[in-house]
Amino acid sequence: MNLDSLIAGALNSPLGKKAMAAAGFAEATKLRRGEALPSGPLALGVVGESSAVADALAAVGLSAEPALIDSPETRTKDDKGRDQAPAYPAKIGAVLVDASQVATVDQLEQVRAVLRPAMRGLEPSGRVIIVAADPATASSVEQAAVRQALDGIMRSVGKELRAGATANLVQVADSTTPAQLGVVLQFLLSGRSAYVDGQPLVLADVATTPAPEGRIVVVTGAARGIGAAIARRFAADGARVVVVDVPMAGEAMAGVANELHGTALQLDITVPDGGARIAEHVAQRYGEGARIGALVHCAGILRDRMLANLDEVRWASVLQVNLAAQLRMNEVLLDPSVAGGLADGARIVAVASTSGWAGNKGQTNYAASKAGVMGMVRALAPSVAERGIVVNGVAPGFIETDMTASIPVIDREIFRRSSSLLQGGKPADVAEAIVFLADPETPMNGQVVRVCGQLIVGR
C-alpha cells in the first residue's frame, strides 16, 4: 500500500470523516443527477413587471408558486426577540428570480428580498436561478451595471448555498422566446446541471429546432473517461455515435462503440488528414449524403511540467492534440462540399478546461491549449452562423476520471473542496452539459460553460 492510498483510507474512515468535520470541512452531498427535477415546489419572485420566467416555465409544462418576500413587515421574532425572515413551510426545490426588467440599483433590493427566505428553504440539490438580460444590450449605464451586479449576487449565493444546491444566472437575449428560455430553465432545474454552479448562461439569437432523429454525432477522445460518457449520453438520446480515439485506445473504444451500437474510428487526430478521415468514415458508414449533426472535440492530453523544465516536445504535443488538431478538423469538416462533413445547423462543442481560465502550475502548455479552445469557440461561432452552425464549449473543473485519479490524494482532496459543491464532478456531468449545448433546441452560441461545481476561478 502506498502513502496515497493510506491517506485516502484514513480520510474516508469514520474517524477521518469526524476529524475532517471537526476541522470545518463539511461532507459533500450526493448530488441530484439526471433528468430528475426538484421534488419540492418551484418558487418564483419577479422584479417589477415581467412574465418572462412564468411564460418560459409554462412552455415546458412547469409552474411556480410566488416566492416568499423578506421585508420588515413579513418578518417574525424568534423566542429571543430576534428578527426572522419568513420561512417556507416545506423545503422548496428551487427559487427563480425574474430580474429581466431590473434597471436600477434600488431594484436589486427586491432580488435580496426573494433570495433571503430561500437560502435556508431549499431542499438538497435545490436551485437558485436568476434570469436577467445581457448587460451588453443595456440601454443605460445604470442598467448595464445593475445587470452585471446580478452576476455578483449569483456567484456569492452559489458559495453560500449548501447541500448540493447551485446558483446560476441566465442572461436572455432580446430574441429569446419563452420556449427557448424554458429549455434552459429545464436544464438548470434538472439533475443534468448538477455540477454547473456559479455560471452565467448567455443566450443568443439562434434558430432552435428539435434534434432530428438518429443524427450523427462524432465524439473524439471517446474511448474512456469524459469522452466515453459523452458518447453514452448522446446514444441514450438516440443519436448514431461515431467514436474516435487514437489507435492505441482501440480496445476500450471498440467496447464503447459496440455498447452504443455505434462505429469506431481509430485515428490519431493530429495527422494532417484527420478531418478528412472522419468525413470519409461518416460518408462511408452512413451514406454519401450523411452529414454530422454534432461534433464534440473531447480528445485531450496532459504533459505537465513546470515551465522551467518544459521542452518543445511536451509543449508541442499538448498544443497539437488539444488545439491545432481541432482547428484543422474544423476547417475540413466545415467545408460544405465535403461529403460526411458538418450539416447545416450542426453543433460543435469543444472541451476546454478551468485551467484555461485560471492557469495552473505546471500547465502552461495545457492552459495555453484550453484557453485557445475558448478563443476558438468565440471566434468560430460568428463565422459559421450563416449556415446555422453553432459553436460552444465546456470547461470542466475537477472531474473524477482515470486521469485525475493519478493526482496525489492530498491535492485531489484540495481540488474537490475548492468547489462550492465540495466534491469532484463525474464524467456524466460534463456529458450532460455537452449534450445540452449540442442540442439544436439550446439557444446559446459562442459560449463556454463551466462544469466545475463553482471552482474558485472562472468566468
Partner: protein, 427 residues
C-alpha cells in the same frame, strides 16, 4: 451458374500478434477471437446484428473448445442469433474459411459472414499421455472403491509427463522446420537470401505500422498495440549472427530469425454480398475471384512438405488463364523465409514446372517489389489459423487503394503437405 452474386471483402480486423508467452500468455483462444470480432463489429457498426454465419478455427485447440467460434460469437457484441462453426485446415484455416463463406454468399445462401482464425502457442492444449489417459478412463469406469484404488495403483511416474503439441508431422515425426530444411537444401536456397527476406519483412511491417496502415485493420488487445515479434531495427547483419536451428550442419541455414516465430493472435474478415454491403454503406474492397487447394505427397521426400502452394498456383492460374506476372501484389505466407524462396524458385524452374506441375514451362519470376509489401509472418508472427485472415484483410485494403480490377495472389502453405492459393481482385 449464371446467377452468381458478387461476394466482397468489406474489411478485416485482428489483434496485434503476440510473442509466445508474451502479451497474451494468459488469454485463451476464445478471448482472442472475441476481441478480434469485437474490433470488427465496432469498426463496421455491427453491434447487435445477426450475421449469416461465422466460420473460424484454431490449430491448437483445447478439447473443451469444440465450439470455439460459437462461444466467441456469444461473447462478442454480435447478435446471439448468429450461427457459427469451427473449421480447421492448419495454417490455411482462415483463408479456407473465407473462400467457403465467399462461395456461400455467391450462391445466395448467405448475405454476410465472418471468416477467421485464432491460435495460442502460449495456452496450448497440453494433454495427458496415452497411458495415463487410458488409466483415467478405466478409473472413471471402475465401480467399487477397491477397483478404483487398484486402477490408480497402476499409474507410473512416467505417465505423468504431459503431452505438449508440437508442430510435428504425425507421419514423419519431423517438425515443420526439419521438413523445410530438407526442401531448402534441395532448392539450394542460401542463408543470405533467407536473411534478406526476413529483414525486408520486418522493415516493411515496421513501415506499415508507422504509416498508420493498420489503423483500420488492427484493434489493440490487453495493452498490446503493435505486433510483438516485430523487430524494426533488425538487419541482414544482425540476422547473420544467429545460429541455425533446423537442418544438418554443414550448410544449415534456417535460424530463429528467418523462421516464423511461435505466436498468439486472432484475425477475422467480413464478407458480404455486394448489394447487401452497399445498402448498408459498408465498403466493398475486393473479392475472391477463385481459389485452389493442393496437397502433396511429402511422405517419401519427393516433394517438400510446404510445396503444395506451388502446385495449387499452377492449377489456379491455368484455370483462370492467367500468368504468374498478372498480379499487382503477391502475398506469400512466410512460414519460413526459405518457404517463400523455394516456392519462387519452383515457379522459376522450367524442369520443375514441366515435370512436377505438368506445365509447358516455368511460370517465371515475379517482381519482388510486389511481394509482401507490408511485411508478413516472419515479422508479424504466425498464430497459425489467423494468418489467412490477416493476409486477406491487408491485401484487400492494398488492392482497393490500387484501384478497381487490381489483382493479388495469396499463397499459404499448411501442415500435412497442403496449400491454398487464391486470386483476389479490387472491386
Amino acid at each position: 451458374m449464371a446467377d452468381l452474386r458478387n461476394a466482397v471483402l468489406v474489411g478485416g480486423n485482428r489483434i496485434p500478434f503476440g510473442r509466445i508467452g508474451g502479451a497474451y500468455a494468459s488469454a485463451t483462444n476464445i478471448d482472442m477471437l472475441t476481441a478480434a470480432l469485437d474490433g470488427l463489429v465496432a469498426r463496421y457498426g455491427l453491434a447487435g446484428e445477426r450475421l449469416g454465419e461465422v466460420a473460424a478455427g484454431a490449430v491448437l485447440k483445447h478439447s473443451r473448445d469444440f465450439n470455439l467460434t460459437r462461444e466467441a460469437v456469444l461473447s462478442s457484441a454480435l447478435n446471439n442469433h448468429t450461427p457459427a462453426y469451427d473449421i480447421q485446415q492448419a495454417c490455411a484455416t482462415s483463408l479456407t474459411a473465407a473462400v467457403q463463406l465467399s462461395n456461400r454468399i455467391r450462391v445466395g445462401q448467405l448475405d454476410v459472414a465472418i471468416a477467421g482464425g485464432v491460435d495460442s502457442a502460449s495456452d496450448s492444449p497440453i494433454a495427458v499421455n496415452d497411458r495415463l489417459r487410458k488409466t483415467l478412463i478405466k478409473l472413471n469406469a471402475a465401480k467399487t472403491p477397491m477397483n478404483k484404488l487398484k486402477t490408480l495403483a497402476t499409474v507410473r511416474p512416467g505417465d505423468l509427463a504431459p503431452e505438449v503439441p508440437a508442430a510435428a508431422e504425425r507421419r514423419t515425426g519431423l517438425n515443420m522446420g526439419q521438413h523445410q530444411a530438407i526442401t531448402t537444401k534441395q532448392w539450394g536456397i542460401t542463408r543470405e537470401a533467407q536473411d534478406e527476406l526476413a529483414a525486408a519483412s520486418h522493415h516493411n511491417l515496421a513501415r506499415a505500422w508507422k504509416d498508420g496502415f493498420f489503423d483500420d485493420l488492427v484493434t489493440p488487445y490487453l495493452g498490446q498495440t503493435i505486433d510483438q515479434t516485430l523487430r524494426a531495427d533488425t538487419s541482414v547483419e544482425k540476422l547473420a549472427k544467429l545460429r541455425p536451428v533446423f537442418g544438418d550442419e554443414p550448410g544449415a541455414s534456417m535460424t530463429a530469425g528467418n523462421s516464423t516465430p511461435l505466436s498468439d493472435g486472432a484475425a477475422v474478415v467480413l464478407l458480404a454480398d455486394e448489394n447487401w454491403a452497399r445498402e448498408r454503406n459498408l465498403p466493398a474492397l475486393a473479392r475472391i475471384v477463385d481459389a485452389e487447394t493442393a496437397a502433396v505427397d511429402y511422405l517419401l521426400g519427393q516433394e517438400g512438405l510446404l510445396m503444395a502452394p506451388a502446385h495449387a498456383a499452377a492449377r489456379l492460374l491455368t484455370r483462370n488463364g492467367m500468368a504468374l506476372q498478372d498480379f499487382a501484389l503477391y502475398e506469400i505466407h512466410e512460414a519460413f523465409a526459405s518457404t517463400v524462396l523455394c516456392t519462387l524458385a519452383a515457379w522459376e524452374s522450367d524442369d520443375y514446372c514441366r515435370d512436377t506441375l505438368g506445365l509447358p514451362g516455368a511460370l517465371g519470376s515475379i517482381d519482388r517489389s510486389k511481394l509482401n509489401v507490408h511485411g508478413s509472418s516472419l515479422a508479424a508472427g504466425h498464430p497459425f489459423a489467423a494468418t489467412g485472415a490477416r493476409i486477406l484483410a491487408s491485401l484487400a485494403k492494398m488492392l482497393a487503394a490500387k484501384g478497381s480490377g487490381a489483382r493479388g495472389l495469396i499463397s499459404v502453405c499448411a501442415a500435412g503437405g497442403q496449400g491454398v492459393v487464391a486470386i483476389v481482385e479490387a472491386i
